[in-house]
Symmetry: C3
Subunit: 257 residues, 3 copies
Amino acid sequence: MITLTTDFGGADWFAGAMKGVILRIHPGACVVDITHEIPPGNLKAGAFLLMAGCRFFPKGAVHLAVVDPGVGSDRKAIAVQTANGFFVGPDNGILSWALARDRILAIRQLENPKYFLQPVSRTFHGRDIFAPVAARLDRGLPLARLGRELTEIVRFPWPKAIRQGDEFRGEIVYIDRFGNAITNIEAEMLPTQGASACKVKVGRKLQCRLREFYRAAPENKPVALIGSTELLEIAVNGGSAAERFKLKIGEKVVVRQ
Amino acid sequence: MITLTTDFGGADWFAGAMKGVILRIHPGACVVDITHEIPPGNLKAGAFLLMAGCRFFPKGAVHLAVVDPGVGSDRKAIAVQTANGFFVGPDNGILSWALARDRILAIRQLENPKYFLQPVSRTFHGRDIFAPVAARLDRGLPLARLGRELTEIVRFPWPKAIRQGDEFRGEIVYIDRFGNAITNIEAEMLPTQGASACKVKVGRKLQCRLREFYRAAPENKPVALIGSTELLEIAVNGGSAAERFKLKIGEKVVVRQ
Amino acid sequence: MITLTTDFGGADWFAGAMKGVILRIHPGACVVDITHEIPPGNLKAGAFLLMAGCRFFPKGAVHLAVVDPGVGSDRKAIAVQTANGFFVGPDNGILSWALARDRILAIRQLENPKYFLQPVSRTFHGRDIFAPVAARLDRGLPLARLGRELTEIVRFPWPKAIRQGDEFRGEIVYIDRFGNAITNIEAEMLPTQGASACKVKVGRKLQCRLREFYRAAPENKPVALIGSTELLEIAVNGGSAAERFKLKIGEKVVVRQ
């Protein structure tokens, strides 16, 4: 099984071409889209989406992620084997948050041209390098054949939320289609006792209570809750929190007991 | 075979996570998207899309539909077996129009936690309840294992068009990507003889003739016809009727012989 | 394997219905989307996308393309066998650029109703004619069964770029999601020696150098390069060339050595 997470969009032929290349090499492959709608070139959105999506797939799956503004330059191409599967993509940080939650077994640079689609373009390594390598890993090619071992790769530090006395301080890291603002404040940081007494604030824009589900708030009112990624999120029951309160990625969020 | 009809959009990881969960439980599953672009929380649009899309799939298919603003509250989760297949989703009306065209054999509440993805979140039952149940039904799990039998579920009444003398009165129920306004006036209501004499009106906005296909109208002119769902629709040849005439869901449509 | 290239969008049930019909006829079919986001009715965008996407798929694949504003009128429906596979769609030019790069073995009109979904609507031949025919070709139905042989089909002339002395003159033929403006100037026209001395101009809007990859230009500056379809394209490193310079399809592009 191969998953795809890219910024190629649905309107062009890029994702289709990657699938064609995969299926030419590995006709029985099961290829599943996580998303192709990462905002163009947005590595952190890609890193978040890959982390959020990849862990529900079967063990051994190959996760192919391509947001690649540096394609054709000297940024490396890599494949990583973890306790849960394989990750393939450019070495620009896009894999970092998915890898941070996993045990890394080996990292290889993609440099063996035998496993690429020839001739390799300078503008579409998703098709020419990453897709063929993913197809071959899914067919069982040993990682070691791909190129030299690497010990360091580009990593984005996860913007860890912190505790200060009775307060937990974090920030908005992602805004989803429903306008829910997902923060970096992890469920396990928060008190399990008395959670419903917690107040959540975003600057002077918004203050609400921690509840268990969206409808626990009155219609059109804000509510904070633990979302499906085990992160605190801020929502509006029946509406978009991001639109209503003009929430942006990076804004500070404070939880007070 | 499992079909997916949701409001999760293509930009986030939600649909991907559901597919991952299905494939973990049932690696050989054939998962097909009907759409993930239902407007967020719009149950009636979801009910229409599911009804329109599901009937072209093979008998026995499992149709999973998730528009679920009440997720985590006390709304029920259900699975329904019909003469044509299975339907899985929240009990909030989203299944109603698809079920209205089908013969219902059994309805069960989803309450057996053994068939869920644990721990079950309070915000994403698509992933934690509906996807695992759909995967198991597709693998052959008997419906009766899922929970108690139900006799009543939430149903939206279909806004039936009516006949008054020489007139047929209905309304716009869906607007598609091309700007075609689909009504609730069914093909079989209309006269087969002399159909081309029928005049179709939307208030004072628009008047046109009933024709057989889009190009039967002059370029950029409105035309009414029987669309591919066997419902009367209003189109503009080479353009968008919805944009051109500012058509909205719920607007009254009259056909006069 | 069957690929789909349509203007049906992702929001409605049209693409899903086509897949359902295919899978009813051919349950083991591998159906892959190239795109469903061709602008409604835009035959040339469809022709470009099909040409760009189809050639990465395995030999023998069936490529189904539907942009069909004339559906239900007297435009023909066709299937074409080439050295690389099959192409199915309306005879309105949408197949032309894909076919121009391939060796045509046979062309048949789709007129044998036995291979259609009955009753055939007048507004959705994608579902009723093209999908069932594609499914049957993928299962091995001989092309000759579909209907009479044709020798002429609708073809869009490819707007070939020309050389005038030291200049190559072409135009923008497609703008992709990243805002890259793809031209009709083919890589093989351009000098391989001294390519980096080439200047590329779009009227008075934009002048830049030919480079090898996006990052070869300074951040936010324009750059021309040979894109992944072997065509000259104009990009902005880290931005959208189309937005920044208001580039449009059809605008003239000149390369000077």
